[in-house]
């Protein structure tokens, strides 16, 4: 007999209760109202002043609570993102988690030589093709920062290479409003015009305030450009507890949230209802090495708190996982990928980026995108939970097989094994003799082999020739303008 209760048993996780959310939120409102944030963009200051914020000396702006509440209310709670072919592929909101790479890694562990060298333009294509081929990578970042493309142009070039080599949504960075405008022009060509692009956005701009409590002119220029043109944007700070924020996690967290929400206010005042994803990355500065940890347990705690708070706000929330502080693929990488991916998914973060990262956001190693994909598969299966309806409780089969029997040959086993059991693609489950017979391959070996296989065989869906030519034309134009600026 079914009872009408839920049949689905799933891991459930949160660390802030409702009362704690209230206290955190009040602290954030107090910071914005009584301390304020530095707003280094004249139009943004005018906009805030015109809506009741207090603009003080030194571009300091104190934001009253009602503006914050209004922005939380007007920002969309669900962000629909499409692929290049206008198929809906992500609905950022609720506890739906999507995973992708990050951007801007200046060094790369070469797939062939295994040496750490400067990232090149062709590495962006490598990362894109590998990401395109993997089932659990939902969106694509440039992954690398190509050292052989001049600053000012490299984000344009990255976007172009990503769009040419994958249909998946592109999560991109821009230096300023200038290159952002060029990237937007390219995206419009691909979508068939600005309206078509805002109807079916296949890109998300990555942008961030500067901790503590400041918004740069460039960041705000890009943020307002995105709002005006309905380009989905992720605006979230990367704060370091103990240096760019208070050392205590609670203090670091509320400062970072104040930065995120003041960005949200400016964004929503620019255009109400414009698409935005928000949240924070509040991690620790290592007090011995003065470096940024991408995987500290403290970061995971603020990550969880952030997800709880933004779920409460009803806003799409940013996440970070599948990354490592190790400089080279090793055991540390494995532990940190597993820990962060499980945590981010349990948190129910929506836009989980930085999969495949090494070296505290400085080193790429393309086969690790495959490692992240494998681990995400495992984590997704875990989060799916299990059902306890009569079919899954299987009492009929249990009676039929009886004590000492064998379930392997039951129809029930045949019917359910694929749905119930996750099957690894990379991780070993061979017994020792078979593992020896198959060449004693470790996960590292298999990842490299798979990466080479994908690069040899995977054919991303190409852009139409006309669109590709148009992107080339836009690229050449941007390059010529850049040369002109130099001379």
């Amino acid at each position: 007999m079914e009872t009408g209760e839920s049949n689905l048993c799933q891991p459930k996780f949160r660390i802030l209760d409702d009362a704690q959310i209230g206290r955190v939120h009040q602290a954030v409102l107090k910071i914005l109202d009584e301390v304020g944030v530095r707003v280094n963009h004249p139009q943004a200051r005018e906009l805030l002043a015109g809506h009741g914020a207090r603009v003080m000396d030194d571009h300091l702006v104190q934001i009253p609570s009602f503006l914050v509440e209004d922005a939380i209310a007007s920002a969309p709670s669900n962000l629909v993102i499409y692929n290049r072919n206008k198929t809906k592929v992500m609905e950022l909101g609720g506890r739906r988690s999507y995973f992708g790479t990050g951007t801007d890694l200046p060094r790369t562990v070469d797939l062939e030589t295994r040496e750490i060298r400067d990232t090149r333009a062709d590495d962006i294509i490598t990362g894109t093709i590998i990401s395109d081929a993997l089932p659990n990578i939902d969106f694509i970042g440039s992954y690398g920062l190509p050292g052989d493309v001049p600053p000012g142009l490299h984000y344009i070039r990255c976007f172009q290479m990503e769009a040419e080599n994958s249909i998946k949504p592109i999560f991109f960075t821009a230096e300023s409003e200038d290159d952002l405008a060029v990237i937007w022009e390219m995206a419009c060509v691909i979508a068939g015009g600005p309206q078509a692009l805002s109807d079916h956005p296949f890109l998300i701009s990555y942008n961030e305030p500067t901790s503590p409590l400041a918004h740069s002119k460039e960041a705000l220029g890009k943020l307002m450009f995105c709002a005006k043109n309905q380009i989905p944007v992720n605006y979230a700070p990367a704060l370091l507890a103990g240096s760019t924020g208070p050392v205590t996690l609670a203090g670091a967290f509320v400062v970072a949230v104040a930065e995120a929400l003041s960005g949200l206010v400016i964004h929503q005042l620019t255009r109400k209802g414009a698409p935005i994803s928000s949240g924070v990355a509040a991690t620790t500065m290592d007090m011995l090495e003065a470096t940024v940890s991408y995987t500290s347990p403290e970061f995971r705690l603020t990550h969880s708190a952030c997800a709880d708070l933004f779920h409460h706000y009803g806003l799409p929330v940013w996440g970070t996982a599948g990354c490592s502080d190790s400089q080279y693929p090793d055991l540390q990488t494995g532990a940190e990928y597993g820990f962060t991916l499980l945590n981010a998914a349990l948190d129910g973060a929506n836009l989980i980026h930085d999969c495949g990262y090494l070296g505290q956001g400085f080193v790429a190693s393309p086969e690790l995108i495959i490692f992240a994909d494998e681990t995400i598969g495992m984590v997704k299966r875990y989060l799916r939970g299990f059902e306890i309806d009569s079919e899954h409780l299987a009492l009929d089969v249990i009676k039929q097989v009886g004590p000492g029997g064998n379930f392997l040959q039951e129809k029930h086993t045949l019917d359910f094994f694929r749905k119930e059991h996750w099957q690894p693609g990379i991780f070993n489950r061979k017994n020792l003799p078979n593992w020896i017979k198959a060449g004693k391959k470790k996960a590292d070996d298999k990842l490299l082999q798979k990466a080479r296989e994908i690069l040899e065989t995977h054919q991303p869906e190409p852009l139409a020739a006309g669109i590709k030519n148009e992107l080339d034309r836009i690229w050449e134009k941007a390059r010529a303008e850049f040369q002109k600026k130099l001379t």
């Binding site: 000492g404 064998n406 392997l408 040959q409 086993t413 045949l414 094994f417 694929r418 099957q423 017994n431 003799p433 078979n434 017979k437």
Partner: protein
């Protein structure tokens, strides 16, 4: 070709009734027993084994293919010629004395049946004497002993020495189970060691010169 193809596909898809119906139809419409056996049942199982080896299909699917194949085989067996009978080995299988862990033994049994062999399953906790008695009684070609517990491994050695005492030189002993190794197999003088169920099938084929 229609009926043979139906049988072949039924085995690959693990459709027990369809495989049996196909063999019945094949027999009644006069298709040669050898064709039904080789082109219908065995070649399908070969492909299933290959796919399994490549990681394209999984154990439950292999088992259902084996069941379909077995259903066809049961209908064919009465029509076998002397030489067809001989090509199919008869295997007496059980877990070692003191060991009631039988999932590995069951899996091997199903895989062997799937490969077209006759399997006599003695069950669990089988005394060495019982293995020998039953093998003689059934005119078996092979004794297959499975163990999970290290404490029961030595009873495998007893099966081998009993066999040697009785000078049953054509009777072979194959062993398998998680704690075993090819070194242990050599040490006790068994004829073969199967690393897993698929390997057990390969080793039985080797022992039978197939």
């Amino acid at each position: 070709m229609g009926i043979l193809e139906d049988i072949y596909n039924a085995v690959i898809d693990g459709k027990v009734e369809e495989a049996a119906t196909g063999v019945e139809q094949g027999l009644s419409s006069g298709i040669a027993v050898d064709d039904l056996l080789k082109k219908g049942l065995l070649s399908a199982m070969d492909l299933v084994g290959e796919r399994f080896g490549e990681g394209e299909i999984f154990i439950p699917q292999v088992i259902w293919s084996a069941k379909a194949m077995q259903a066809g085989m049961d209908l064919l067996r009465p029509h076998f010629t002397e030489s067809q009978q001989q090509k199919s080995a008869r295997i007496v299988i059980g877990t070692a004395q003191g060991d009631i862990h039988d999932i590995g033994k069951n899996l091997v049994g199903m895989m062997l049946e799937g490969a077209g062999f006759e399997v006599v399953d003695l069950g669990v906790d089988i005394k060495p004497e019982r293995f020998i008695e039953k093998a003689v009684e059934e005119k078996a070609d092979i004794i297959a002993v499975s163990a999970l517990l290290t404490t029961t491994m030595m009873s495998m050695a007893e099966v081998v020495s009993l066999k040697n005492e009785k000078a049953l030189s054509s009777l072979k002993v194959i062993i398998g189970g998680a704690p075993l190794s090819s070194g242990f197999c050599k040490e006790i003088g068994a004829d073969a060691y199967g690393v897993d169920a698929m390997d057990a099938v390969a080793k039985v084929k080797e022992l039978m010169g197939l």
